[in-house]
Symmetry: C2
Subunit: 160 residues, 2 copies
DNA sequence: CATTTATGTCAGCTTTATTGACATAATTTG
DNA sequence: CAAATTATGTCAATAAAGCTGACATAAATG
Protein backbone atom coordinates (compact mmCIF):
# COMPACT_ATOMS: atom_id res chain seq x y z
CA UNK A 1 0.00 0.00 0.00
CA UNK A 2 2.40 2.75 -1.18
CA UNK A 3 1.69 5.91 0.74
CA UNK A 4 -1.05 8.27 -0.35
CA UNK A 5 1.01 11.11 1.07
CA UNK A 6 3.24 11.07 -2.03
CA UNK A 7 2.92 14.01 -4.39
CA UNK A 8 2.83 13.38 -8.13
CA UNK A 9 5.35 16.16 -8.64
CA UNK A 10 7.44 18.51 -6.47
CA UNK A 11 5.75 21.71 -5.29
CA UNK A 12 6.96 25.15 -4.23
CA UNK A 13 8.18 23.87 -0.89
CA UNK A 14 10.14 20.92 -2.26
CA UNK A 15 13.89 21.39 -2.01
CA UNK A 16 15.64 19.53 -4.81
CA UNK A 17 19.20 20.78 -4.56
CA UNK A 18 21.58 18.68 -2.46
CA UNK A 19 22.78 20.26 0.75
CA UNK A 20 26.45 20.86 0.20
CA UNK A 21 29.27 22.80 1.71
CA UNK A 22 27.96 26.25 2.56
CA UNK A 23 28.76 28.21 5.72
CA UNK A 24 32.05 26.33 5.79
CA UNK A 25 30.28 23.14 6.87
CA UNK A 26 32.06 19.98 5.74
CA UNK A 27 29.19 17.54 5.32
CA UNK A 28 31.56 14.98 3.97
CA UNK A 29 33.47 14.56 7.20
CA UNK A 30 30.21 14.55 9.18
CA UNK A 31 29.06 11.58 7.13
CA UNK A 32 32.42 9.86 7.31
CA UNK A 33 32.20 9.93 11.08
CA UNK A 34 28.76 8.36 10.91
CA UNK A 35 29.78 5.60 8.53
CA UNK A 36 33.09 4.93 10.27
CA UNK A 37 31.47 4.55 13.67
CA UNK A 38 28.57 2.54 12.29
CA UNK A 39 30.94 -0.07 10.86
CA UNK A 40 33.42 0.12 13.74
CA UNK A 41 30.73 -0.88 16.24
CA UNK A 42 29.27 -3.55 13.99
CA UNK A 43 32.38 -5.74 14.35
CA UNK A 44 31.80 -6.94 17.91
CA UNK A 45 28.06 -7.56 17.53
CA UNK A 46 28.36 -11.16 16.35
CA UNK A 47 30.67 -12.07 19.23
CA UNK A 48 28.42 -10.36 21.77
CA UNK A 49 25.25 -12.09 20.64
CA UNK A 50 26.91 -15.46 21.31
CA UNK A 51 26.85 -14.56 25.03
CA UNK A 52 23.41 -12.93 24.71
CA UNK A 53 24.94 -9.51 25.25
CA UNK A 54 24.65 -6.17 23.47
CA UNK A 55 26.72 -3.05 22.96
CA UNK A 56 26.03 -1.78 26.46
CA UNK A 57 27.74 -4.88 27.84
CA UNK A 58 30.66 -4.28 25.53
CA UNK A 59 31.28 -0.80 26.87
CA UNK A 60 31.15 -1.98 30.48
CA UNK A 61 33.48 -4.93 29.84
CA UNK A 62 35.87 -2.67 27.97
CA UNK A 63 36.24 -0.04 30.68
CA UNK A 64 36.31 -2.52 33.55
CA UNK A 65 39.23 -4.20 31.79
CA UNK A 66 40.98 -0.96 31.01
CA UNK A 67 40.63 0.42 34.53
CA UNK A 68 40.27 -2.53 36.92
CA UNK A 69 39.07 -1.39 40.33
CA UNK A 70 37.06 1.57 39.08
CA UNK A 71 33.98 2.40 41.12
CA UNK A 72 30.41 2.29 39.86
CA UNK A 73 30.33 6.12 39.98
CA UNK A 74 33.49 6.31 37.84
CA UNK A 75 31.95 3.99 35.29
CA UNK A 76 28.73 6.01 35.13
CA UNK A 77 30.75 9.18 34.61
CA UNK A 78 32.75 7.57 31.81
CA UNK A 79 29.75 6.16 29.99
CA UNK A 80 27.56 9.20 30.70
CA UNK A 81 24.51 7.11 31.53
CA UNK A 82 22.35 6.75 34.64
CA UNK A 83 22.80 4.09 37.31
CA UNK A 84 19.42 2.60 36.41
CA UNK A 85 20.62 2.06 32.86
CA UNK A 86 23.80 0.46 34.05
CA UNK A 87 22.11 -1.74 36.66
CA UNK A 88 20.66 -4.46 34.44
CA UNK A 89 23.72 -4.75 32.25
CA UNK A 90 26.16 -4.84 35.16
CA UNK A 91 24.07 -7.38 37.05
CA UNK A 92 24.09 -9.69 34.04
CA UNK A 93 27.85 -9.39 33.65
CA UNK A 94 28.38 -10.18 37.34
CA UNK A 95 25.94 -13.09 37.36
CA UNK A 96 27.52 -14.64 34.29
CA UNK A 97 31.00 -14.31 35.77
CA UNK A 98 32.61 -11.68 33.53
CA UNK A 99 32.88 -8.98 36.20
CA UNK A 100 33.47 -9.05 39.96
CA UNK A 101 32.72 -6.49 42.64
CA UNK A 102 35.15 -5.92 45.48
CA UNK A 103 34.44 -3.74 48.50
CA UNK A 104 36.43 -0.49 48.44
CA UNK A 105 39.40 -0.54 50.83
CA UNK A 106 39.22 3.07 52.03
CA UNK A 107 35.50 3.57 51.44
CA UNK A 108 33.58 0.37 52.07
CA UNK A 109 30.45 1.73 50.37
CA UNK A 110 32.22 1.60 47.03
CA UNK A 111 31.89 -1.36 44.75
CA UNK A 112 35.13 -1.62 42.82
CA UNK A 113 34.72 -3.43 39.53
CA UNK A 114 37.22 -5.97 38.21
CA UNK A 115 37.19 -8.35 35.27
CA UNK A 116 37.56 -12.09 35.80
CA UNK A 117 39.82 -14.11 33.50
CA UNK A 118 36.72 -14.84 31.42
CA UNK A 119 35.95 -11.10 31.35
CA UNK A 120 39.48 -10.26 30.20
CA UNK A 121 39.25 -12.80 27.42
CA UNK A 122 35.93 -11.39 26.25
CA UNK A 123 37.32 -7.86 26.22
CA UNK A 124 40.26 -8.98 24.10
CA UNK A 125 38.05 -10.95 21.75
CA UNK A 126 35.92 -7.84 21.19
CA UNK A 127 38.91 -5.57 20.70
CA UNK A 128 40.60 -7.73 18.06
CA UNK A 129 38.31 -7.07 15.09
CA UNK A 130 38.16 -3.39 15.96
CA UNK A 131 41.94 -3.26 16.08
CA UNK A 132 42.16 -5.02 12.73
CA UNK A 133 39.84 -2.42 11.22
CA UNK A 134 41.91 0.43 12.64
CA UNK A 135 45.16 -1.11 11.41
CA UNK A 136 43.68 -1.42 7.94
CA UNK A 137 42.50 2.20 8.01
CA UNK A 138 45.94 3.39 9.13
CA UNK A 139 47.63 1.43 6.36
CA UNK A 140 49.65 3.82 4.22
CA UNK A 141 49.69 6.54 6.87
CA UNK A 142 53.08 6.79 8.52
CA UNK A 143 53.45 6.69 12.31
CA UNK A 144 54.33 10.39 12.55
CA UNK A 145 51.10 11.26 10.80
CA UNK A 146 49.09 8.81 12.88
CA UNK A 147 49.64 11.15 15.81
CA UNK A 148 47.53 13.73 13.97
CA UNK A 149 44.62 11.33 13.79
CA UNK A 150 44.72 10.79 17.53
CA UNK A 151 45.04 14.53 18.01
CA UNK A 152 41.95 15.07 15.88
CA UNK A 153 39.91 12.46 17.74
CA UNK A 154 41.04 13.88 21.08
CA UNK A 155 39.96 17.33 19.88
CA UNK A 156 36.47 15.99 19.21
CA UNK A 157 36.04 15.04 22.87
CA UNK A 158 34.55 17.50 25.35
CA UNK A 159 37.34 18.86 27.52
CA UNK A 160 35.55 18.92 30.90
CA UNK B 1 21.32 -1.61 49.66
CA UNK B 2 24.87 -2.05 48.33
CA UNK B 3 25.17 -5.39 46.64
CA UNK B 4 25.81 -8.56 48.61
CA UNK B 5 27.62 -9.90 45.58
CA UNK B 6 30.71 -7.85 46.48
CA UNK B 7 33.73 -9.75 47.72
CA UNK B 8 35.71 -8.42 50.67
CA UNK B 9 38.93 -8.99 48.78
CA UNK B 10 39.99 -10.13 45.30
CA UNK B 11 40.25 -13.88 44.70
CA UNK B 12 42.18 -16.12 42.32
CA UNK B 13 39.95 -15.22 39.42
CA UNK B 14 40.11 -11.44 39.89
CA UNK B 15 42.15 -9.68 37.22
CA UNK B 16 43.74 -6.54 38.63
CA UNK B 17 46.15 -5.53 35.91
CA UNK B 18 44.83 -2.99 33.36
CA UNK B 19 44.33 -4.31 29.86
CA UNK B 20 46.93 -2.52 27.79
CA UNK B 21 48.55 -2.74 24.42
CA UNK B 22 49.38 -6.36 23.80
CA UNK B 23 48.91 -8.20 20.49
CA UNK B 24 49.46 -4.83 18.82
CA UNK B 25 46.02 -3.64 19.91
CA UNK B 26 45.82 0.11 20.38
CA UNK B 27 43.17 0.45 23.10
CA UNK B 28 43.77 4.15 23.22
CA UNK B 29 42.47 4.80 19.73
CA UNK B 30 39.53 2.43 20.33
CA UNK B 31 38.51 4.57 23.29
CA UNK B 32 39.12 7.82 21.43
CA UNK B 33 36.66 6.72 18.78
CA UNK B 34 34.09 5.97 21.47
CA UNK B 35 34.52 9.31 23.25
CA UNK B 36 34.72 11.32 20.04
CA UNK B 37 31.52 9.86 18.66
CA UNK B 38 29.73 10.06 22.01
CA UNK B 39 30.33 13.80 22.20
CA UNK B 40 29.89 14.39 18.47
CA UNK B 41 26.36 12.99 18.56
CA UNK B 42 25.49 14.76 21.80
CA UNK B 43 25.53 18.19 20.11
CA UNK B 44 22.31 17.87 18.11
CA UNK B 45 20.28 16.27 20.91
CA UNK B 46 19.12 19.52 22.48
CA UNK B 47 17.95 20.88 19.12
CA UNK B 48 16.17 17.64 18.26
CA UNK B 49 14.26 17.39 21.51
CA UNK B 50 12.73 20.83 20.82
CA UNK B 51 10.88 19.20 17.89
CA UNK B 52 10.25 16.01 19.87
CA UNK B 53 12.68 14.13 17.66
CA UNK B 54 15.58 11.79 18.33
CA UNK B 55 18.78 10.70 16.62
CA UNK B 56 16.96 8.48 14.17
CA UNK B 57 15.16 11.56 12.84
CA UNK B 58 18.50 13.34 12.57
CA UNK B 59 19.97 10.67 10.35
CA UNK B 60 16.95 10.65 8.06
CA UNK B 61 16.85 14.45 7.78
CA UNK B 62 20.56 14.52 7.09
CA UNK B 63 20.57 12.04 4.23
CA UNK B 64 17.35 13.32 2.66
CA UNK B 65 18.99 16.75 2.52
CA UNK B 66 22.26 15.43 1.21
CA UNK B 67 20.68 13.30 -1.51
CA UNK B 68 17.27 14.80 -2.33
CA UNK B 69 15.17 12.40 -4.34
CA UNK B 70 16.64 9.23 -2.88
CA UNK B 71 14.26 6.31 -2.62
CA UNK B 72 13.14 4.62 0.58
CA UNK B 73 15.24 1.58 -0.38
CA UNK B 74 18.33 3.77 -0.84
CA UNK B 75 17.79 5.31 2.56
CA UNK B 76 17.41 1.91 4.23
CA UNK B 77 20.61 0.74 2.57
CA UNK B 78 22.48 3.83 3.75
CA UNK B 79 21.27 3.64 7.34
CA UNK B 80 21.46 -0.17 7.44
CA UNK B 81 18.17 -0.50 9.29
CA UNK B 82 14.88 -2.24 8.45
CA UNK B 83 11.90 -0.55 6.84
CA UNK B 84 9.84 -1.15 10.00
CA UNK B 85 12.37 0.85 12.00
CA UNK B 86 12.32 3.64 9.48
CA UNK B 87 8.52 3.71 9.17
CA UNK B 88 7.55 5.62 12.30
CA UNK B 89 10.39 8.11 12.09
CA UNK B 90 9.76 8.86 8.44
CA UNK B 91 6.01 9.17 8.99
CA UNK B 92 6.59 11.72 11.74
CA UNK B 93 8.95 13.74 9.59
CA UNK B 94 6.45 13.78 6.73
CA UNK B 95 3.48 14.63 8.95
CA UNK B 96 5.34 17.48 10.59
CA UNK B 97 6.41 18.90 7.23
CA UNK B 98 10.16 18.31 7.22
CA UNK B 99 10.17 15.72 4.45
CA UNK B 100 8.07 15.20 1.32
CA UNK B 101 7.47 12.14 -0.81
CA UNK B 102 7.27 12.39 -4.58
CA UNK B 103 6.27 9.55 -6.87
CA UNK B 104 9.22 8.20 -8.86
CA UNK B 105 9.21 9.37 -12.50
CA UNK B 106 10.46 6.17 -14.12
CA UNK B 107 9.22 3.76 -11.46
CA UNK B 108 5.97 4.97 -9.94
CA UNK B 109 6.21 2.51 -7.04
CA UNK B 110 9.14 4.44 -5.68
CA UNK B 111 8.70 7.14 -3.07
CA UNK B 112 11.44 9.69 -3.63
CA UNK B 113 12.25 11.65 -0.53
CA UNK B 114 12.89 15.39 -0.52
CA UNK B 115 13.36 17.94 2.25
CA UNK B 116 11.04 20.94 2.53
CA UNK B 117 12.47 24.38 3.30
CA UNK B 118 11.78 23.65 6.95
CA UNK B 119 13.57 20.31 6.59
CA UNK B 120 16.58 21.98 5.02
CA UNK B 121 16.76 24.49 7.84
CA UNK B 122 16.61 21.74 10.45
CA UNK B 123 19.41 19.81 8.73
CA UNK B 124 21.60 22.91 8.72
CA UNK B 125 20.79 23.72 12.33
CA UNK B 126 21.85 20.21 13.32
CA UNK B 127 25.02 20.30 11.24
CA UNK B 128 26.29 23.61 12.66
CA UNK B 129 27.37 22.49 16.13
CA UNK B 130 28.88 19.33 14.68
CA UNK B 131 30.82 21.40 12.16
CA UNK B 132 32.03 23.70 14.94
CA UNK B 133 33.31 20.71 16.88
CA UNK B 134 35.11 19.36 13.82
CA UNK B 135 36.67 22.74 13.05
CA UNK B 136 37.92 22.97 16.61
CA UNK B 137 39.37 19.45 16.43
CA UNK B 138 41.12 20.26 13.13
CA UNK B 139 42.59 23.44 14.57
CA UNK B 140 46.38 23.26 14.29
CA UNK B 141 46.30 20.54 11.68
CA UNK B 142 47.14 21.93 8.26
CA UNK B 143 44.89 21.29 5.25
CA UNK B 144 47.34 18.89 3.62
CA UNK B 145 47.29 16.77 6.73
CA UNK B 146 43.53 16.98 7.07
CA UNK B 147 43.30 14.76 4.01
CA UNK B 148 44.89 11.99 6.05
CA UNK B 149 42.13 12.21 8.60
CA UNK B 150 39.50 11.76 5.93
CA UNK B 151 41.53 8.93 4.45
CA UNK B 152 41.62 7.24 7.85
CA UNK B 153 37.87 7.63 8.39
CA UNK B 154 37.17 6.36 4.89
CA UNK B 155 39.37 3.36 5.61
CA UNK B 156 37.23 2.52 8.64
CA UNK B 157 34.15 2.12 6.45
CA UNK B 158 33.22 -1.25 4.96
CA UNK B 159 34.09 -1.20 1.28
CA UNK B 160 31.04 -3.00 -0.15
C1' DC C 1 23.62 12.06 66.08
C1' DA C 2 22.21 14.08 61.72
C1' DT C 3 23.45 14.49 57.09
C1' DT C 4 25.48 13.24 52.97
C1' DT C 5 27.29 9.89 49.80
C1' DA C 6 27.66 5.42 47.09
C1' DT C 7 25.08 2.04 45.69
C1' DG C 8 21.03 -0.71 44.61
C1' DT C 9 16.25 -1.51 43.34
C1' DC C 10 11.29 -0.93 42.00
C1' DA C 11 8.02 0.83 38.74
C1' DG C 12 6.89 2.89 34.62
C1' DC C 13 8.05 5.04 30.36
C1' DT C 14 10.49 6.19 25.70
C1' DT C 15 13.23 5.54 21.58
C1' DT C 16 15.16 2.73 18.40
C1' DA C 17 15.74 -1.26 16.74
C1' DT C 18 14.28 -6.28 15.51
C1' DT C 19 11.38 -10.41 13.04
C1' DG C 20 7.40 -12.17 10.76
C1' DA C 21 3.30 -11.74 8.24
C1' DC C 22 0.53 -9.67 5.03
C1' DA C 23 -1.40 -5.95 1.57
C1' DT C 24 -1.16 -3.01 -2.54
C1' DA C 25 0.34 -1.22 -6.72
C1' DA C 26 3.58 -1.12 -10.35
C1' DT C 27 7.00 -3.29 -13.02
C1' DT C 28 9.04 -7.16 -15.19
C1' DT C 29 9.14 -11.63 -17.15
C1' DG C 30 7.65 -15.80 -19.37
C1' DC D 1 -1.71 -11.18 -21.04
C1' DA D 2 -0.90 -13.77 -16.70
C1' DA D 3 2.37 -14.66 -13.22
C1' DA D 4 6.11 -13.36 -10.60
C1' DT D 5 8.85 -9.97 -8.59
C1' DT D 6 9.72 -5.53 -6.55
C1' DA D 7 8.96 -1.15 -3.73
C1' DT D 8 6.55 0.31 -0.28
C1' DG D 9 3.54 0.35 3.75
C1' DT D 10 1.44 -1.57 7.87
C1' DC D 11 0.17 -4.61 11.86
C1' DA D 12 1.74 -7.10 15.83
C1' DA D 13 4.93 -8.59 19.04
C1' DT D 14 9.41 -8.19 21.04
C1' DA D 15 14.02 -6.59 22.66
C1' DA D 16 17.87 -3.48 23.95
C1' DA D 17 19.11 0.52 25.98
C1' DG D 18 18.21 4.43 27.68
C1' DC D 19 15.30 7.78 30.93
C1' DT D 20 12.83 9.86 35.52
C1' DG D 21 11.22 9.43 40.11
C1' DA D 22 11.01 7.35 44.44
C1' DC D 23 12.82 4.91 48.05
C1' DA D 24 16.22 1.80 50.87
C1' DT D 25 20.65 0.63 53.05
C1' DA D 26 25.12 1.13 54.80
C1' DA D 27 29.09 3.77 55.39
C1' DA D 28 31.39 8.08 55.84
C1' DT D 29 31.43 12.78 57.44
C1' DG D 30 30.25 16.93 59.94
Amino acid sequence: MPSERARKVPDNDTVTCPMSDGEGIDFNIIELLFFAYRDFTSDPDVILSKSGFGRAHHRVVHFVNRRPGLSVADLLETLKITKQSLARVLKQLIESGFVQQVEGTEDRRQRCLYPTQKGRELALELARPQSRRITKALNGIDPGEQILIKKFLQGMVDSD
